[in-house]
């Protein structure tokens, strides 16, 4: 069992690339940014293909999005928008340079500094941000199986030129779990801002830098989802510790996360930092970002997760823990608020979401938006408990059906015949059967209170949980009394 708990000897820094999915077009051309599910190489034009003679033209909405994110992360926004070329050769690069930003040689990123507060084991930790920058996404490479055994590589340029925000953290994360919590918080913030929909495939990707004490820094690339981040980092810690234990040194290198085999593989050794020969992108003109422009955007900031959390505590009178869990993702928080719109008892909703709902989602390995449960369905289910149609216990069996099938609770109760049995007649029949089948228990029950519970339990079991527990208790006691009287 690997101990990957917070360990200050483990230093993790993350480089997250977030697509600005709310934009209509790519960063430097008019191609539609809605490329998911479309045939490959159809959302392309001379500019994003890097056809000779083409020139980039900046998408103005990108700057607004970047400023929103910088404000939310409390980063310092720079007064000039400057783009630089990052020069390197790779098959996913149509121009063999990426138009990006740089923080030296006269360049500036869109914002520097900032932080994201997270809760780890009931402590608050501030994850420090080094910088935020705007850049274009390269094309997508597709392989048959793992990158090192695939007989070919296919290139799909639909993604080339999509606007990305790169957010780089200090190496201040000390465990894979912290990394995951940070990423979830960041995603929630971006979703609440409305700039990046983390639910879309490939919308948030991450490279990680990890070093253990005594070893060099290893970069892990190609991590495509948050689940993979925790796995990749955990694997890497194990790998590095195993090297140490065999007296081997961890060298500086770049490794590729193989999502199929769940290992990191070495791609190339970083003898030195790769030289990207950064220099200004001269086909674009520097743009000034005024304080007025920033203030205008600040006034339109949507509610962020932390503010939402506080509001949940005040408005719905929820405890801190509940509020924290519910605002962990925008989808979950939205779901909760939709429920509360049609049902007055917020705490009841919260309980159901935090316990059974989350547990089932976790077990089925889906997020709430991937399931089929609707706020209306959950509220209906709770109402069925309220009016006695089903018991709380039965509801726990209805809930997974809501998640998987998307049917209404009424339909499910009907189909599976889960209606609470509350007719005296029926329960008496069941009670009689139980008494008949359990003569020894009956003898005990006449003198021992505990045995009565046992018999009632058997009645519940016989009724498959549907019998009204209170009424069953009353009837069972009556019958026993009758026997005693006899």
């Amino acid at each position: 069992m690997v101990n990957t708990k917070m360990d200050r000897n483990v230093k993790i820094g993350l480089e997250i690339h977030c697509q600005l999915t709310n934009l209509n077009t790519k960063l430097f051309c008019g191609c539609s940014a809605d490329y998911r599910g479309k045939p490959s190489n159809t959302h392309v034009c001379p500019v994003c293909l890097g056809i000779p003679g083409s020139l980039p033209v900046g998408n103005k909405d990108v700057v607004k999005d970047a400023i929103l994110v910088a404000l939310a992360l409390e980063s310092k926004i720079m007064s000039k928008l400057l783009f630089f070329r990052k020069n390197y050769f790779y098959p996913d690069m149509p121009k063999n340079f990426q138009i990006s930003q740089y923080d030296k040689a006269g360049g500036v990123p869109i914002a520097i500094g900032g932080h994201v507060p997270i809760q780890v084991s009931n402590r608050e930790k501030k994850v420090e941000i080094i910088r935020i920058q705007i850049e274009e996404d390269p094309a997508k490479l597709l392989h048959q199986g793992s990158i090192d055994v695939s007989p070919y590589t296919l290139v799909d340029y639909n993604r080339a030129g999509i606007a990305l925000l790169e957010i780089v953290t200090e190496p201040c994360l000390n465990s894979p779990k912290e990394a995951r919590i940070f990423l979830q918080k960041l995603r929630s913030i971006l979703e609440h801002l409305g700039v990046s929909d983390g639910k879309l495939e490939g919308a948030m990707r991450c490279d990680a830098n990890i070093s253990l004490i005594g070893g060099d820094r290893v970069e892990i690339k190609n991590i495509s989802s948050f689940k993979e981040v925790e796995r990749a980092l955990t694997f890497e810690i194990v790998r590095q510790r195993s090297l140490f234990s065999r007296g081997r040194k961890v060298e500086m290198e770049t490794r590729h996360w193989d999502v199929v085999r769940r290992i990191t593989i070495s791609l190339r050794t970083k003898e030195a930092e790769q030289d990207y020969r950064y220099f200004p992108e001269l086909d674009l003109v520097p743009i000034t970002i005024s304080n007025e422009a920033i203030e205008k955007i600040r006034r339109k900031m949507p509610e962020l997760p932390d503010a939402r959390r506080k509001r949940f505590m005040e408005e719905y009178k929820l405890p801190a823990y509940d509020a924290e869990v519910l605002t962990g993702s925008k989808a979950l928080a939205d779901f909760f608020e939709e429920c509360v719109k049609i049902y007055p008892y917020a705490k009841k909703i919260s309980n159901w979401i935090m316990t059974d709902l989350q547990r089932w989602l976790h077990e089925k390995n889906v997020e709430i938006f991937e399931s089929r449960i609707t706020p209306q369905a959950l509220v209906s289910m709770i109402r069925l408990i309220d009016d006695g149609t089903i018991s709380g216990k039965i509801a726990k069996r209805v809930l997974p059906e809501l998640i998987i099938t998307g049917k209404s609770p009424e339909e499910i109760v009907e189909e599976k015949q889960l209606l609470r049995i509350s007719s005296r007649q029926e329960i008496e029949k069941l009670a009689d059967k139980v008494l008949e089948d359990n003569p020894n228990a009956v003898k005990d029950a006449l003198v021992d209170e505990k045995a009565v519970h046992y018999l009632v339990g058997q009645l519940m079991k016989l009724s498959k949980g549907k019998a009204d527990p209170q009424l069953s208790n009353v009837i069972m006691k009556e019958k026993l009394k009758n026997l005693l009287d006899k």
């Binding site: 056809i51 000779p52 033209v57 020069n87 149509p94 121009k95 020969r277 086909d283 003109v285």
Partner: protein, 487 residues
């Protein structure tokens, strides 16, 4: 009547509008001329006769119907082969663009077509515009129509030779360090480099993007202004394109220049300039005096740094602009599936690029690399600012600056190509205008041993009007539009 191929653009437009001439006849005449002389000149990489005839017939139909015509109806124009033409091979005179057929037109091409101009073909150039003699072309050198053993200048040598030899009425070239003005000077025609940002670069295959502009080549000053009218306007597809109110540059061909003050930088006639070239240029200056212009000498000390500054900047930008040529999506490729992608890229570029291009890419890469960036590229940018300041000071006192376009007359093919530095030195007088973004024009001003000499006029940014004024006066005086090479 003169052969249509000898007519100026102005005359063709008038005659077509006046129904005295048919566009189809213009095209046929030009192609006859091409057939006659092209073998000796080698100005063209690609000729598109059928498309030209098709377009000509459309124009003739328009005339017949009384439809509104554009500003260049029936004018046969040649395009330097680094301008993207949809459906027509665009090679930059390089092997690495083998088979490259652009899926779009450069903005300037669309504008020409809109004005009913007729594109007749793509002209030879130095590979990727890197050169001053059109000798680095993968397709072999173009010859100077005035002396076929000599270079036509470069890198727009094919365009200039075509216009000079009357194989085209007008042509477009591109000017990064003198590539329109140099061949204009060597071929005894007019060549203009507009203010940086005045003409859209969308569709111009980049060599050095902070330095280059597309420019007109013509046999007289009026035609040059006419063509600039069509080229100069804001293009949203080019972020470096300037928004200026459109104007008619032909209105600046006036006879009154008595208010103009000309500055003559001493360094334009100093070390490295052939004495005979100096002499011919001075003669033109003295003659202009009688039109009322005044001139005065000045010194621009930063001129000694312009060549080094230019080459550092140009090569650095080129190393990045030419990175995209890897054979994967277009152009030459060895197409070997058994090799790793990086090996294929290396081979494609090794085989596809000529040696001058490789030289500049290597030097540019070096200048941008860690440890050298500050020393070379950044320093060059700083010096560029100093050069700008120098010229701005001069322009406070003078309306335009003047001197020879090239330090030497056209040299023999093969004479300098083995010594790259000696070729770089020939750019001495032309690179300053690119570094500061100012417009500059070259006009013929005489001969040295029967070899053409050009005079260069430089104006402040967006003051093409001043260039046309001075060029016009000089042309009236000089009569160079009646020159023609014997072919």
């Amino acid at each position: 009547m003169e052969e249509p191929y000898s007519l100026s653009a102005k005359e063709i437009v008038e005659k077509i509008r006046g129904r005295e001439l048919k566009a189809e006849d213009c095209v046929l005449s030009i192609f006859n001329r091409i057939e006659e002389v092209e073998e000796r000149v080698h100005a063209y990489v690609t000729l598109s006769k059928e498309l030209a005839l098709q377009k000509a017939r459309e124009i003739d139909a328009k005339v017949k119907n009384g439809d509104v015509l554009g500003r260049l109806p029936g004018v046969c124009i040649a395009l330097k082969d680094n301008l993207c033409t949809e459906g027509l091979l665009t090679s930059c005179s390089s092997r690495i663009l083998d088979g490259f057929i652009p899926p779009y037109n450069a903005t300037v091409v669309d504008r020409l077509l809109k004005e009913d101009a007729i594109i007749i073909g793509k002209t030879n150039m130095d590979e990727f515009a890197m050169g001053s003699s059109t000798e680095t072309s993968y397709f072999g050198a173009t010859r100077n129509p005035w002396d076929s053993s000599r270079v036509p200048g470069g890198s727009s040598g094919g365009s200039a030779a075509a216009v000079s030899a009357e194989e085209a009425v007008l042509a477009l070239g591109s000017d990064t360090g003198g590539s329109v003005r140099c061949p204009a000077s060597f071929c005894s025609i007019v060549g203009l480099k507009p203010t940086y940002g005045l003409v859209s670069r969308y569709g111009l295959i980049a060599y050095a993007n902070s330095l280059e502009q597309i420019g007109p080549l013509s046999r007289n000053v009026y035609d040059c202004a006419l063509l600039l009218n069509v080229l100069a306007s804001y293009d949203p597809k080019d972020s470096t394109s300037i928004r200026v109110p459109s104007q008619d540059y032909t209105q600046f061909l006036v006879d009154d220049v008595s208010d103009l003050k000309i500055g003559i930088p001493k360094e334009f006639f100093g070390e490295g300039i052939d004495e005979r070239v100096s002499k011919v240029t001075w003669e033109s200056i003295y003659t202009m005096e009688k039109f009322g212009v005044t001139w005065e000498e000045l010194s621009l000390p930063t001129l000694r740094y312009t060549l080094a500054t230019y080459y550092l900047i140009a090569m650095s930008e080129a190393s990045s602009n030419l990175a995209r040529y890897d054979g994967m999506r277009y152009g030459y490729s060895i197409d070997d599936d058994s090799k790793d992608w990086s090996e294929v890229y290396l081979k494609n570029r090794r085989i596809g690029f000529g040696s001058e291009v490789k030289r500049r890419i290597i030097l540019g890469t070096y200048a941008l690399s860690t440890g050298y960036y500050d020393e070379y590229y950044l320093k060059a940018l700083k010096v560029r600012t100093l050069i700008r300041d120098d010229f701005n000071k001069a322009f406070k006192k003078f309306d335009v600056l003047l001197g020879p376009t090239m330090p030497i007359p056209p040299f023999k093919i093969g004479e300098k190509i083995a010594d790259p530095l000696s070729l770089y030195l020939t750019d001495l007088l032309t690179v300053p205008a690119n570094l500061i973004g100012s417009p500059a024009i070259s006009v013929p001003c005489g001969f040295v041993d029967d070899l053409p000499v050009g005079m260069q006029i430089i104006a402040p940014a967006l003051r093409e009007d001043l260039l046309f004024k001075v060029a016009h006066i000089h042309e009236q005086n000089h009569g160079f539009k009646d020159y023609a090479p014997k072919l």
